[in-house]
């Protein structure tokens, strides 16, 4: 029985399987299929300062082993979230990672302040895959300076007891540059990865399928990109905790991320096909660790890097 306890900065989790932001709402619906308190934590849909309508439909397109979404961060806003969703999660004994999003640095700061001192908040995940209103809508996560600014500001504004993770986009030339910028700005860890920008065209309507024209690609299709991002970042920042995600559907998928350097994983799109996927992935991962003789999750983190380092040594 491997020890499943893991940590994301100062946040100690009973096990390394979480939901993914935007793929579990605020836990209530999935609680019909499994007890959300049994997960490492619930990661909430990215919340913003004000209510948001989200984008026009259609908002999704199924693609080979993946899907595109253009939800546009529909949500009730932080006040309703604090009043309704967060208390429900606390009552049901779930650990909560609150995902926050904004269009200006000060929006992120305002959100961090609202969460300050709230005992129900175990960690903040900063979704910086949002257009930066201040710079012609360029996505924060695509610019090291903008990423660093937001993360630094959130880290300063947030409760010091609560780890702040930056959630990065894979749509960059070198993700390690963004990772370094966030680390230097004070990020306690990184969530890797958000969706890839993609699109599909309806060959009958001869127009883009999505109301938002482009959308975010997720699911097993992107897993190789996600594992690569975790691998690259862990290689340059081996001591920075990583919450890995991207196409995880099974315990062995999750193990790939842990071996690549993730301390915990989020299960996202898989939930849509199997509402109890996070609980199942946890059970499968537990088995897989035992079968490989790992005494703990910690022992497995980043292990796949050893083989390569050794080969490199031999080559010398």
């Amino acid at each position: 029985m491997a020890e499943l306890t893991t940590t994301l900065g100062s946040f100690v989790l009973p096990n390394p399987v979480l939901t993914a932001s935007g793929c579990a709402a605020s836990g209530q619906e999935l609680h019909q299929f499994f007890d959300v308190a049994t997960l490492g934590a619930v990661v909430t849909k990215s919340i913003m300062t004000r209510p948001r309508s989200g984008r026009a439909t259609p908002r999704m397109a199924e693609t080979p082993s993946g899907m595109l979404n253009s939800i546009g961060l529909q949500g009730p806003g932080i006040d309703v979230f604090l009043e309704k969703d967060l208390p429900w999660l606390a009552e049901h004994g779930a650990r909560v990672v609150v995902s926050i999003a904004g269009g200006h640095t000060d929006e992120y700061v305002a959100l961090a302040r609202k969460l300050y001192g709230n005992p129900a908040v175990s960690m903040i995940e900063v979704n910086i895959s949002c257009p930066n209103v201040e710079s012609r809508g360029q996505v924060f996560a695509c610019d090291p300076a903008a990423s660093g600014r937001v993360i630094g500001a959130v880290r300063r504004a947030a409760d010091p007891k609560v780890p702040v993770f930056a959630k990065l986009s894979p749509d960059v030339t070198d993700i390690t540059v963004i990772a370094r910028a966030c680390a230097e700005a004070g990020a306690d860890g990184l969530s890797l990865i958000n969706t890839l920008l993609g699109m599909a065209i309806d060959t009958d309507m001869m127009a883009p399928v999505l109301g938002g024209v482009t959308g975010g690609l997720s699911g097993p299709a992107i897993r190789p990109v996600a594992v690569r991002c975790v691998w690259q970042v862990h290689q340059v920042l081996p001591h920075l905790p990583i919450l890995g995600m991207g196409g995880i559907r099974s315990g062995l998928d999750a193990l790939q991320f842990i071996l690549a350097g993730a301390s915990a994983v989020s299960v996202g799109t898989a939930v849509f096909g199997d509402p109890s996927a996070p609980a199942r992935v946890l059970a499968e991962l537990d088995q897989a660790l035992d079968a490989r003789g790992f005494a703990s999750v910690a022992d497995a983190i980043g292990v796949a890097h050893r083989s390569v380092t050794e080969q490199a040594k031999e080559a010398e």
């Binding site: 299929f33 004000r50 309508s53 989200g54 026009a56 439909t57 999704m60 080979p64 899907m67 849509f272």
Partner: protein, 285 residues
Amino acid sequence: MTPVQEIGEIFAVQKIGEYYQFTVVAPGVAASFTPGQFVAVGVGGENTSMLLRRAFALYGATPTGDFAGTIQFVVAEHGPGTQWLVQRQAGDRLDLVGPLGTPFQLPKRTVPAVLVGGGYGTAPLIPLAQQLIEGGSDVEFIVGASTASRLFGELAAKRVAGGVTVTTDDGTAGTKGRVTDVLPAAIQRTKAHVIYACGPMAMLRAVGDVALAHSVTAQVAVEESMACGVGVCMTCVLPVVGDDGSSRFVRSCVDGPVFDAARVRWDDVGSLPSDLVGADAMGGH
């Protein structure tokens, strides 16, 4: 009425016109079914490239008696997922989640009702009719389709309710024309207080207009593309007017698929009306 996830064995698949009627042993889904709800079915089998479930309105569920614990739904061949599904046979297993969604609301007092089904949309209206009739309401059916082979449930409708009017766009069966051509007469004839409808979006909208014109309520079961079917992804939204008079994008998988037609902003489906709650916050994104 909480949904369950279970593997159901197919008891029978019958071809009816252009449709396939599935009877599946699924006691968990059958246990808490209410008319208007749907079931989400995994498609493609192991190692499939299709990640998402397909939604089908429940045609019936038999919690007890013979066929105990079976559910019925009707499948029209559309794309790869339904093509895979209609190739399944008795004995095969299906991955099911259900029952899902908000069912049809029954009238507080027993009042006459007209049930309007378009294509396979008649399926969920059959168990509804039984429920209404057991409750003492008079029920009349209008069953329509583009052409005869796309009609569904005419006989079943006749069996539960007496009056059934059939329409087809091409006149290959029943009255030539649309369900809404014969709906006004039916409302007057039956003194209906409520209309229940399921079918293509355009039909539901037209039914809603007729209902409005006759100042009766219309409960319609919509079809929006769904990723999760359980309320977590926000893909399936429609612009709907709330009790507070302001409009929001609401999830048709949990707040629907049944809506009050008068509350749905049909004109704005597929767009982002600027007066929607939170539309002002969309600037940046």
